[in-house]
Amino acid sequence: MNMPVKKMEMEGIAPSSSVAAPVVAMTPKRPPRSEAYARMAKETAVRVIPPLVVIALLTLIWELVCRRAGSTLPPPSRVFKDTKELIFDPFFDHGGIDKGLFWHLSASLQRVAYGYSIAAIVGIALGTLVGQSVWAMRGLDPLFQVLRTIPPLAWLPLSLAAFRDGQPSAIFVIFITSVWPIIINTAVGIRNIPQDYRNVAAVVQLNPLEFFSKIMIPAAAPYIFTGLRIGIGLSWLAIVAAEMLIGGVGIGFFIWDAWNSSHISEIILALFYVGIIGFVLDRLIAALGKFVTHGTAQS
């Protein structure tokens, strides 16, 4: 059995094979490397070129509009000139809040990591409870529906009063902002677990803990990750706003500080970073979801 397989491979690599054995038809012909690279390059180009063109066009318009005298906002060329130092040296640290953008962003990300992790754990736990128990849903759902409409910043004074410190308050705001979509989506996912899976679990006699880990979480995973993805977006929205008010190191306060010192170019640069990081966070959770729920989405 081994012999013909080896032979086929060799034929595939050989530039021209004169031996036309009938087995050759069985193996999919591997296209030459260069062809594969060409195809990959083409696929990448199809995806990358259109957004690049659009960005270039928008930048051009921006440049043309803001270049005129009396313009309130700087054109992109000015932005680049003003923020060159910040772009090329994100790691400086002159003490206090005079730090490179890297430190501001990492401080913000750290707060998000704390708040969001707590939100994920609490959200999945509460969502499971509400999805599983009709009485928990009847009791808690109206409360959730009202609380989730409260804007993130409205919580900030209250949490400042409770914690008397900026750091835990900011983390609390992240938590309270991102927990609702996680709860609600988890609950929907748990409620939508097909009766068939529950029957299987009943026949096999899984105990509640096994049912939770082996049936509930994987079955509800697509929903849970939808909630987690909405949650990470909201927490990134909330942190920038919260940091503007609590001060200290963080990208939110960096923006506020730049505004107070009329460094409009720095604001634009910071916004650019905020957007990119928000996008990356969203994609990270989406990729994690895709990895965890492989096979669950389709049945």
Partner: protein, 264 residues
């Protein structure tokens, strides 16, 4: 005649608000060990409800189920179910799906290696060992149902409950799978209770056919013995007089005496 599985005066009433519907009325049936019994009836006659009651997934309103003279009223691996739509967990591989039950049932009596061997043994029984690392979405409908059967068999149930196991399959796959189930029954001697609405399937596979009247308040209308020697061969039976007579009896019951009035 020893009653291995006994259905004792089972009634089932569904209550929704003020409306009550009597689905099953006074179901009595005894099944011997090793017997293959089919329950046939029009859709909506409550045969699936009856299977759920035996499986313990639904409670009977009155009456009960006795397995080896012990009442059973909650689900358990001694009454493993092969579900109509296979119900494999899509995030587990074929192997893991079967192992889920095996790990629970034999957690104390078998070592890890023995359990692994037992899973593979059962996958081999249904000729699915080759696909053990595939996920349900990667195999065909017939294959999924084979895995469903392996999962149920691997729990070593006292009674194997089949809920229209071939209903969702195309005719050729169905015939193939019916032959497999017949061979397994022959080899392992399981007690099998099958829900079906296919007359040929019922006659081909069963020792006895339980015919149910139309709901509401469905009862057992008639029980027919199928005195055909085993092993049975599909092709030979096509012209067998006993086979044809049994088939005729079931057809008469379903389409003359208990015609389904409202088209489903």
């Amino acid at each position: 005649m020893t009653a291995y599985l006994k259905l004792d005066h089972i009634d089932k009433v569904f209550t929704r608000g003020n409306a009550t519907t009597e689905v099953l009325k006074d179901i009595n049936l005894t099944i011997e060990k090793g017997e293959y019994v089919s329950i046939i009836g029009h859709s909506g006659c409550g045969k699936s409800t009856l299977l759920n009651i035996i499986a313990g997934l639904t409670g009977a309103s009155t009456g009960g189920v006795l397995l080896e003279n012990r009442e059973v009223n909650s689900p358990g691996p001694d009454r493993a179910v092969v579900f109509q739509n296979h119900s494999l967990l899509p995030w587990l591989t074929v192997y893991e799906n079967v192992k889920l039950g095996v790990d629970k049932v034999f957690s104390k009596t078998k070592t890890r290696a023995e359990r692994d061997a037992w899973v593979m043994h059962n996958l081999n029984l249904v000729q699915m060992a080759h696909a053990k690392d595939k996920r349900p979405s990667e195999i065909s409908g017939g294959m999924k149902q084979r895995v469903g059967i392996a999962r149920a068999l691997a729990m070593e149930p006292k009674v194997l409950l089949l809920d229209e196991p071939f209903g969702a399959l195309d005719a050729l796959t169905r015939a193939h799978l019916q032959d497999s189930v017949m061979a397994l029954h022959q080899k392992l001697g399981n007690t099998i209770l099958m829900i079906t609405h296919d007359v040929d399937e019922a006659v081909l596979l069963s020792d006895r056919i339980v015919m149910m009247t139309n709901g509401p308040s469905a009862r057992i209308g008639e029980v027919l013995d199928v005195p055909l020697a085993r092993p049975r061969k599909r092709l030979e039976l096509a012209s067998n007089a006993t086979y044809l007579k049994c088939r005729q009896r079931v057809l008469e019951f379903l389409y003359e005496r208990h015609r389904f009035v409202e088209a489903a």
